[in-house]
Symmetry: C2
Subunit: 258 residues, 2 copies
């Protein structure tokens, strides 16, 4: 660490996050710092082995002193629990939207579009759920979405390396292109008629649009959706990452269940 | 605020959290502090009206200076965003387990049992999901679970006032009593055969046991379960609050859908 202050977003930390990144995408990692004087468990050993295999620089140091090097606006980051490991990384590579459309990876593709979700913990949690549910991509707008920061990587438990993250200039025109390419667009909307389990997710490419808490999905995008679905709620609404888990796994259930 | 240091857990903060508590359980609130010099929006107005109606003391003050009064081990709490409102409260009242069993509130009752979930953000998020899904209760052990702290109340968006929170001495013997009282016990277990959507949640009292990330549900409790279910995951496992949302809402789907 050369400078007296660094941007935390050039680093990832936490065992799962570093282990997933080094397994899936070792070229992103420039250097790994391990804490001195800690219990070197299985996950840390695996990270060290993978680092050696990939000729990645390793340094043992007192990680606690690193906290003060990071400049961040997020007050929650002022005392990071590194879990013994910190890695300096190049940023997550965004997937090009056109390239994603052309890829013949699976018969049908599944994506989530985030409209105005700015909380990094929610963004990371959603990415983790999408990777678990074998979704292909998350599509975010250039503006009104948080970047793939260290908090997002950590909350995703390294899942940022498992699905395509696509950043687009305009969500409305991206949705138009998806529709032209035989995708179906489903928007979450608390005010609509259909429940999320009333529609079919089988045998089609589909993208689910989720909006920010409070505001929901913007009117422009709602108007472009083929289906609008709600989650029945007896109390307030669900947190956006819980809502994502519920709808995404309903599609998993329909596709899995005979 | 009389003393030079206070326990944050005697307070709740955030508009939704305070609004829900004053609507559902005004007797819990001793005094409300509003920030001076902020935009007094609809939610804050509703809180003020409800406070006046319930003869609750109100004080306008500079809330930012309050941060330093709170003693807390949680570093994330060192700079709280109060959203303009802070209330001094008596603790959440736990519901007595026997009383809960005897209550004739609905034909069938639904609960979640948390085994070793210690993260307050996950606990709060799960309570919020349970209230949205019309569940009756969350059952936690006296040890190995975090208390209903200010963070839990805030993350639950006030939902702690909407469902019964039951604290028991022993989860195994509580499960025995539930089974004797015609409840079915479902445990989440990554290693089992059945998917969470392969079992029926209809026409029965049931409790879903969820374990801590990494460790899962303890063997003793797994052995007592009538059903063990897993969530199919292509990448790692889900966060416990996402897992709760997925299983809980599968039961909602089955009960709602014709």
């Amino acid at each position: 660490m050369k400078n007296s202050s660094e941007n935390i977003n050039n680093y990832i930390y936490g065992k799962n996050s570093v282990l997933e990144t080094i397994s899936q995408n070792p070229r992103r990692i420039n250097k790994i710092f391990f804490s001195t004087g800690i219990n070197f468990d299985n996950k840390l050993k695996k990270i060290k082995e993978a680092a050696e295999k990939n000729s990645i620089l390793i340094q043992f140091t007192n990680l606690n002193k690193f906290n003060k090097y990071f400049q961040t606006d997020d007050k929650k980051l002022q005392n990071i629990n590194f879990q013994g490991v910190l890695a300096s990384v190049s940023p997550v590579e965004y997937k090009d939207f056109e390239e994603f459309l052309d890829e013949k990876t699976s018969k049908y593709k599944k994506a989530v579009i985030l409209d105005g979700v700015t909380d990094p913990h929610n963004f990371g949690a959603i990415i983790r759920t999408l990777a678990a549910a074998s979704f292909d991509a998350v599509i975010i707008p250039k503006h009104r979405c948080c970047p793939v920061s260290a908090v997002v990587e950590k909350t995703s438990a390294g899942a940022v390396n498992h699905i395509s993250i696509i950043k687009v200039n305009s969500l409305p025109s991206t949705i138009d292109v998806l529709k032209k390419n035989d995708w179906w667009i489903i928007a979450a909307d608390a005010q609509c008629e259909d429940n999320y389990f009333d529609i079919s997710y089988k045998d089609m490419n589909f993208a689910i649009i989720l909006g920010a808490e409070g505001e929901g999905v913007s009117k422009t995008l709602l108007n472009k959706a083929d289906f609008k679905v709600k989650i029945p709620c007896a109390f307030e609404s669900l947190n956006v990452s819980a809502a994502a888990a519920v709808i995404v796994y309903e599609s998993v259930r329909q596709i899995h269940q005979k």
